[in-house]
């Protein structure tokens, strides 16, 4: 009896609140339905490789009835957000370079799936640099490159790895650090003049599409191993939204598809349209991930 009373009161209040504006009531009703499923926040880093998988996952989750928000941040802030719960999902975590963040936040973030595990990374040179094929060829040829290797930010794991690499192979190189944009701009500047240049490259990235580059092979494989890209979530996601967690733990996407999407986006295509197209072409794969 008491329950009925409360329900009636609540209904009356809702009716009162909506009084005089039927349309408003409608939209309230709609958003309440979505509200039940909740809002999920994606962390989006400024790398070109983050956008395609994020958009694909976003469209799928929106289809499931979730409200999706995107938070733009650099990688360390993204992991901080993941650990605090401000960000629920991050689609573009690179191993082993992001291991430091997992060590830092091991209790509060979870590595739920591998997107793809054959992402090449290493030192790259333009193809017009004929004499350099493997890292052994670098020895004695440092001067050709002005004794400089261009890397990304100081403090990034790739930066430390390159420093270790220079030391291990006893090369007369100094690493110049800036940022992804700074490094690419510098390389572009030198490639415009057809000067020899060596810098840090990784796939998937449009640099391989824009310039003729080759990766300097390292047969020993001590330094530039292939990276794998992972989906990372806040530790609570498995409890809060099991179906999302289930979907993400089945997640995978071929690296070639990601690169193709990056190229389309950089050529000016709409990000969500590109993602939608991929979903339509890969409906089987999506269904598999959703276990339908």
């Amino acid at each position: 009896m008491k329950k009925l009373f409360i329900t009636l009161t609540a209904l009356a209040l809702v009716a009162l609140a909506a009084c005089g504006n039927g349309e408003d009531q409608d939209s309230n009703g709609d958003s309440a339905e979505v509200e039940e499923k909740g809002t999920l926040t994606f962390g989006v880093t400024p790398w070109t490789s983050t956008v395609p998988p994020t958009k694909v996952a976003k469209l799928v989750l929106e289809d499931m009835g979730y409200e999706i928000e995107e938070t733009q941040a650099d990688v360390s802030s993204t992991f901080m957000g993941l650990s605090r719960g401000d960000i629920d999902i991050f689609m573009d975590s690179w191993m082993p370079v992001h291991e430091i963040y997992f060590d830092e936040y091991e209790d509060s973030v979870e590595n739920v799936a591998t997107s793809y595990d054959n992402a090449d990374a290493g030192l790259v040179v333009p193809t017009y640099v004929d004499d350099i094929e493997t890292v052994e060829d670098l020895k004695g040829n440092e001067e050709m490159f002005g004794n400089e290797i261009y890397g990304i930010e100081d403090g990034a794991s790739a930066t430390e790895m390159i420093d270790d690499f220079i030391e291990a192979y006893d090369l007369d190189f100094e690493q110049v650090n800036s940022s992804e944009g700074g490094m690419i701009a510098q390389a572009q500047r030198m490639m415009n003049n057809e000067e020899p240049v060596i810098f840090y490259g990784w796939r998937p990235h449009t640099m391989f599409n824009e310039f003729d580059l080759k990766i300097v092979e390292e047969p020993a494989g001590d330094f530039f191993e292939q990276s794998s890209v992972h989906v990372v979530t806040n530790g609570e996601l498995a409890n809060d939204h099991p179906e999302v967690y289930e979907f993400l733990s089945n997640w995978s996407i071929p690296i070639d598809d990601v690169e193709a999407m990056i190229v389309e986006i950089e050529d000016g295509a709409d990000e969500e349209e590109v993602a939608q197209e991929w979903i339509e072409n890969n409906q089987d794969h999506i269904d598999e991930m959703l276990e339908n």
Binding site: S76, D154, G155, S178, S179, G181, G182, A185, Q186
Partner: protein
């Protein structure tokens, strides 16, 4: 509002890639080489002077322009920088600040004088300065690398764009605020325009110009972290390294280093400005 399509993005890209860089690339290379030599020279001098001597000179300077309190602060600040082991980084930052400030003043003060003498010049200069100060620095950071390469020179250029405006504005303001009576009196005594500028207007404008110098230095320091994204060495690089590793302690060390440099430079330039003020 999309009445017609403005392909600004494409125009800019075509303009930069197909015309600007091929045409002016070499010219900018030589400007870059000059600036690079300048940055290297200042850095070498700063790193060559033993920290103890440098501190002593700076303490004496602070004492003369700012008094005992400032001298003590300068000493403690330099002691801090040495003790947390960021001396070398600080000197790199300082040398970029010195060169950027120098270039800013070299361009800024003459432009300020011109725009104080001529309203038409001012009507062009003012919006240009607004543009320079409000355009987000990331917009010109990467183009600077395309023109000048990674490192100190691009950092100086980016810092110049951000930090030069106060030098122009304060010079302009200082000259315009010289009392009419003073100018009339000088004219009455038969001074030429040149004499009027160099013997009356500029000396009276010095406190205002020094306030501009002070602002320029402060803005240069605030660009330190951003400049490190295009390869400028120094305290900014320490901070950038710290934040990408989530190393809060190292971030504070680098950050406080910038603050210490800023306070010392601020008080010294203020002291010089006030000293001039008292004399006049």
């Amino acid at each position: 509002m999309n009445y017609f399509e403005l392909p600004l993005e494409q125009w800019t890209n075509t303009f930069v890639d197909d015309w600007f860089l091929p045409t002016f690339g070499n010219a900018f290379d030589s400007i870059g080489a000059v600036l690079n030599a300048f940055v290297d020279l200042v850095t070498d001098v700063l790193l060559f002077v033993p920290p103890e001597l440098f501190t002593l000179l700076l303490v004496i300077l602070s004492w003369r322009v700012g008094g005992k309190g400032l001298a003590i602060f300068t000493f403690l600040g330099m002691l801090f920088i040495g003790s947390v082991d960021i001396w070398e980084e600080s000197m790199h930052t300082l040398s970029i600040v010195i060169v950027s400030t120098f270039v800013s003043l070299l361009v800024g003060i003459p432009v300020g004088i011109l725009s104080a003498m001529n309203n038409r010049v001012q009507s062009v200069v003012r919006p240009t300065l607004d543009f320079m100060q409000t355009l987000p620095s990331f917009v010109y950071l990467i183009p600077a690398v395309l023109l000048f390469g990674l490192g100190g020179v691009s950092a100086v250029i980016a810092t110049f764009i951000f930090a030069a405006p106060p030098a122009v504005r304060m010079t302009n303001l200082g000259i315009r605020h010289v009392p009419k009576e003073v100018i009339e009196a000088s004219r009455a005594f038969g001074s030429t325009s040149k004499q009027l500028l160099f013997k009356v207007q500029l000396p009276l404008a010095v406190p205002s110009i020094m306030a501009g110098v002070n602002q320029t230095i402060m803005l240069s320091l605030s660009m330190a972290v951003i400049a490190s994204m295009i390869g400028a060495p120094g305290l900014g690089a320490t901070v950038l390294q710290a934040i990408s590793r989530v190393n809060i302690g190292l971030g504070l060390v680098g950050g406080l280093g910038i603050v210490v440099l800023a306070i010392i430079l601020d008080r010294i330039t203020q002291g010089i400005g006030q000293g001039q003020n008292n004399k006049s």
